[in-house]
Amino acid sequence: EKTKSSFLNKLSKAVAGKSKVDAAVLDDLEEVLISSDVGVATTIKIIDRIEDRVAKDKYLGTEELNKILREEIASLLAENEHKLDDDDEKKPYVIMVVGVNGVGKTTTIGKLATLFKNQGLSVVLGAADTFRAAAVEQLDIWSKRVEVPIVKQKMGSDPASVAYDTVQSAVKKNVDVVLIDTAGRLHNKVNLMNELTKIKRVMQKVVKHAPNEVLLVLDGSTGQNAFEQAKQFTAATEVTSLAVTKLDGTAKGGVVIGISDQFKVPVKYIGIGEKATDLQLFDKQVFVDSFFSQ
């Protein structure tokens, strides 16, 4: 709170009665944004916009400036509909969870299952990470912990076949939500990216609309490489939403501003811990505020 108000004070003092923000203040703003992983290009974009606004609406007070800053940053974040498509025709609602290694996919699935269950929906998990050591056991523990069924095969089996089984079982049992866990993979590995495309295609054999959502999980402490992740996963699977994890740490996750701006994919969830309830719906204002608080 202290840093936040002092930064904003400094900013407003420096522009009070001026039609131009002075360089020192812009340097400070640049530092705040860059240190939050917003990246050079997006930072320049935000600063340009602030300069334009200041030039246009002269004589800004602290409050207006504060507001403008938040508005400009928030405007780069894509709009987010916080609900599942409730079209009954499209049942089950299938969410395929993808991302690079260790970002928090499996944990996010455990949390999502909790969230949906608490909304009164029925859920089934699909253990389509058949590669990483004890990945199935990990999801199995989550399934027991949050008391939702799991569909699994043995390690090393075809992930597409697991996904197929899961969706089929959901149809048969009239389950509302299907959560498909996939193995972590780096986006520059073509074969592994093709495997995702295949998983998607195979699920469509059971229900045409699957997956309703492709959720890309990004680690909040990731730097500029997250851009490339968003780009490549979008190319392979048409990512529809993002989850940013580990925001309970000191990282700010600013890279998602540029990603959201460029790919028009909304951030839907944030992860703030390792427990089943440590998932929140993304709130633009709260997220933006966190950049100016230390």
Partner: protein, 306 residues
Amino acid sequence: MFDNLSDKLDNALHLLKGHGQITEVNVAETLKEVRRALVDADVNYKIAKTFTDTVKEKALGQNVLKTLKPGDLMVKIVKDELTELMGGDAEGLDLSGHPSIILMSGLQGSGKTTFSGKLANFLKKKKAKNPLLVAGDVYRPAAIDQLHVVGEQIDVEVFSDKEEKNPVKISERAIAHAKSNGFDVVIIDTAGRLAIDEVLMKEISSIHHTVKPNETLFVVDAMTGQDAVNTAKAFNDVLDYDGVVLTKLDGDTRGGAAISIKSVVDKPLKFIGTGEKMEALDVFHPSRMADRILGMGDVVSLVERA
């Protein structure tokens, strides 16, 4: 948009070329590009600033050789400084203990468990050691199973106790087990933790105090952004670790976090992880890393073109 530093420098250096001499005025634009490129490669913002200041000092202090154009000289200075910053060539591990104890530390998902397996495999195959893996993560679902699977893959014994919830006790018992069963290296895997999690930082500190490791390694994801400095420093404040392991370098990240970490804690970068398989471990090479951060070796060719 340029997509790597070499291009950026090449462009900025047009300003320098023709001047024949590096001056405060003509170097400014180049340094700004260098700084931006470093930040884009995830080098910490402040460290990138300090770095370009150093580069400037070097550039201004030197006479431009007749045979070199100022731009080429700049590139060489940047690359040399970066390499130097990252330290000398790969340092080994202290394996003088009986047994030698190696403790893993790091954030959630950084690659500790995988690296524990890789290191055990490396020591067994390349150093003729008889390592014991210890399952010290009592929190993450299936963490113990994961280490057992890894151990089976490389045929290394894993010490674990699913009933025991205290990793300090698990570690002590594992060391006793190692002593009486002829293991000469004990590798302790630990749970991922945030640097601001006081309870868990206290826990690893207490493991550290109790087992007195020969080597404490900080395992960090090479894709980490600006926060790398905070985390690296916070773990170092608690553990005073001996070396850093950078994982997931098989991706296309520039890995600027390596510079940030080295600058802030001044501990050697020892190993890199280059894949999910047990063989995917390499010793750290500062010059290769510098090339990567600067844009995958293009800078070297830029210098050679001169």
